[in-house]
Symmetry: C2
Subunit: 443 residues, 2 copies
């Protein structure tokens, strides 16, 4: 008697952020073969990216090589590559001339910043999505102080010492608070020719309050704390112009050499790859099991998906959402593979909304329970450590971050790369070295 | 009665490596004003740079912002800037259109790698002198493994898995040993489609033994340990060709995508700035008090100086030499300022020569006493921690590095920047963003 042995189903997961990583880990004990593909070699703990950008933590402390995370998970293969399209007819993903067939596909490719149609502002107002972004923002902030030390023209020094953050969601609030703190505390004793404490930090938003996704009382609390840290908060002030001289927000012109963009988010091209329905921000509309209409084996999760809660409201682009969706998709796939009934539709369980203001305060919205101040900040720290997905042993990370906090992490205040303004557009960067063209195998 | 108050003498120190940093710190209690200028914002602990290049430590662990080192030293001002010439007539240094007058000048600008006239090899065989160098080498090494995971052509995979280090001095020996170790140990479980342990690591030198500045018995011991780690040692094999396909060393052609240059050193342009006598490597010849002939107030120390020991032999380009010279120059300046007799001529006290092979062995030459193996490696660690110049609290660094060692420092294995071969020469790098031209004040 002959037995047909079915091959193990192949699950391809695109993106190793919170959503993709969680899905891959949650399938560790399911009889599937997993290929996890990301265009970078590391998983990034994004909630703390602003710390790298403001020279508070080093990149190594908030990123882990994806391979290290999966070294012991034998059903997972990690690949470095950039997916450029999905061939739904042939059931394959396409990445840089290589094709990978799948039985199940999970797209978790996240979001990037949007300049609301003004992409020409990008060179003057970098956003914060990747480690490279954070290192570049850090470089500009630290260079501004360095240049101020030798600048003799008071007007230019004032421009160098003015920092504008556009967008008062959690990222913008956290960035602005952190910049105010390094200026007024960390760098205080390190300059002789001027006082870094006199830096001007501006936080601007088109809306009427900071942290618009939080309850009003917490928005007011956060604004108060920001102002106590010396941040100027400008509300009802959309950015209307941006150049190397500064910004215009609302009616106000602000001369500044450093502008940081924390204002808009747009989804990855996943909707285009799938030819699927998308919302206004480009996020793929998914069903109750997070799959795409007409393709029950194709799932989209995280910031690049548009899913709704029980009341039909769109879910926010938060890390816990992506993480829970990743776990849910893994349960759905496992049920299908085992020919068990499919789980109930996805329901997001909110553990609250958190944002820090400086090193000693936070605001936390748990719905009925709200917390602010130092207690909130401690809880924020604990929550983030708890939230790690096998990033490293949680104990080691807890010790690592505590260490960095106590030490003021001097090692993070490095300017790596050019100590000059980058070359004008079109000029090759001085440090690029050509390498051999990669030998490509056509498929 | 009128008193003329003489202004405090101004000591300008160019370069914040071991020599410059030591000189500045040693003048903390001398009634002088110090300006320490470096073209980077951080002091680099160079003996461990190879660890960053081989993804064993993170940049933040071996570099400190210069300002942080001097935050409490009130007579020291730190400036970021690149010195381009010295005006001995006007007694000023020139840095990017700004001039700084000095009463005493200490030049400690170090060395860079030399390709013995074949600068066209530089793009294919990066050297290791700065953090940027180390991060680039790390990127290439890690990318080679990433590409091997998806490479279907066995010949290309073999090329990707072949690493050649040219130059078997301490830097080359340490690099080769570390690459062999990450391939055979750290990365072992992280790839599914090939075995990183089969990487081929080649160490080549034109001379007849590794570590030529060590006694012969230690050279043999080091070579034995390298071979035990799986490093192929090719001696009497000078590099005669280098391209993106590999190298030719001696008569042997080796196909390799990653070549690292650890073979030649050339001094900074200091000799040219001063119009001073220099040796064949461009190092400035200095007198017994480390000053330049005809300019008793201009000192040159460290790798960019050519000083001799009691037997007239040139001193090696080692960190302890620079450190002791920095301390000596500070004593000379302090004596002159106080109108005391000048100290005796500089004498270098050697504490031995050290090199590690992998994570558990080292060779140490103390002259009469020699040590090899694990005990030597422990002593090497202790010596390096002891050797820190107020880098950070020695205890914190000791704990930090022990931590990294025990944890295999996964966070250091990040590929930051392009995950593609860099663009061909002449093409702008994709990630460069233009910034406003710096407002320059003409002097």
């Amino acid at each position: 008697m002959f037995m047909t042995i079915e091959p193990v189903p192949h699950v391809v997961i695109v993106g190793a952020g919170f959503g993709g990583l969680m899905a891959a880990k949650a399938l560790a004990h399911t009889p599937v073969r997993i290929t996890l593909i990301d265009r970078r070699n590391h998983h990034l703990f994004q909630p703390l990216l602003y710390q790298v950008a403001t020279a508070g933590l080093a990149p190594a402390q908030i990123a882990a090589p994806i391979r290290a995370v999966f070294r012991h998970q034998k059903n997972a293969t990690v690949l470095l590559g950039e997916v450029t399209s999905v061939d739904l007819d042939r059931q394959e993903i396409v990445a840089e001339h290589k094709r990978e067939p799948f039985d199940y596909l999970v797209i978790a490719t996240g979001a990037h910043h949007s300049y609301f149609g003004r992409d020409d502002w990008a060179p003057f107002a970098p956003g914060l999505k990747s480690l490279e972004d954070a290192i570049e923002i850090r470089r500009r902030i630290l260079l501004a102080f360095e240049f101020a030390e030798t600048e003799e023209d008071p007007a230019e020094r004032h421009r160098l010492m003015t920092f504008v953050v556009v967008g008062a969601g959690p990222t913008g609030v956290e960035m602005a608070g952190a910049i105010a703190e390094i200026a007024r505390r960390t760098l205080r004793d390190e300059f002789r020719n001027f006082d870094p404490g006199e830096a001007r930090v501006v936080l601007a938003d088109a809306g009427s309050r900071v942290l618009p996704s939080f309850p009003e009382a917490l928005s007011r609390d956060a604004q108060r704390r920001l102002e106590k840290l010396g941040v100027e908060v400008h509300l009802n002030a959309a950015a209307t112009a941006c150049s190397d001289e500064g910004v215009v927000i609302g009616q106000t012109e602000i001369a500044a050499r450093t502008v940081i963009w924390a204002a808009g988010v747009a989804a990855s091209p996943a909707a285009r790859w799938l030819g699927a329905d998308a919302d206004r921000a480009g996020r793929v509309k998914v069903g109750p099991d997070l799959s795409v209409a007409g393709h029950a084996n194709v799932f989209v999760i995280g910031d690049t998906a548009s899913a709704s809660d029980a009341q039909g409201r769109p879910l926010p682009g938060l890390a816990p959402v992506a993480k829970q969706q990743g776990a849910h998709v893994a349960r759905v796939i496992a049920a299908r593979v085992a020919r068990r009934p499919v789980p109930k539709p996805f329901v997001y369980t909110s553990f609250g909304n958190l944002a820090t203001i400086g090193r000693k305060a936070a605001v936390i919205d748990f719905g009925r329970l709200r917390l602010t101040g130092f207690a909130a900040w401690l809880l924020w720290c604990v929550a983030h450590i708890f939230f790690l997905i096998g990033f490293r042993n949680r104990i080691t990370v807890a010790l690592d971050w505590s260490w960095a906090y106590l030490n003021f992490s001097h090692g993070s205040r490095l300017i790596i790369g050019s100590t000059h303004w980058p070359p004008a557009q079109g000029t090759p960067a001085a440090t690029v070295r050509p390498m051999p063209p990669r030998h490509t195998v056509s498929s």
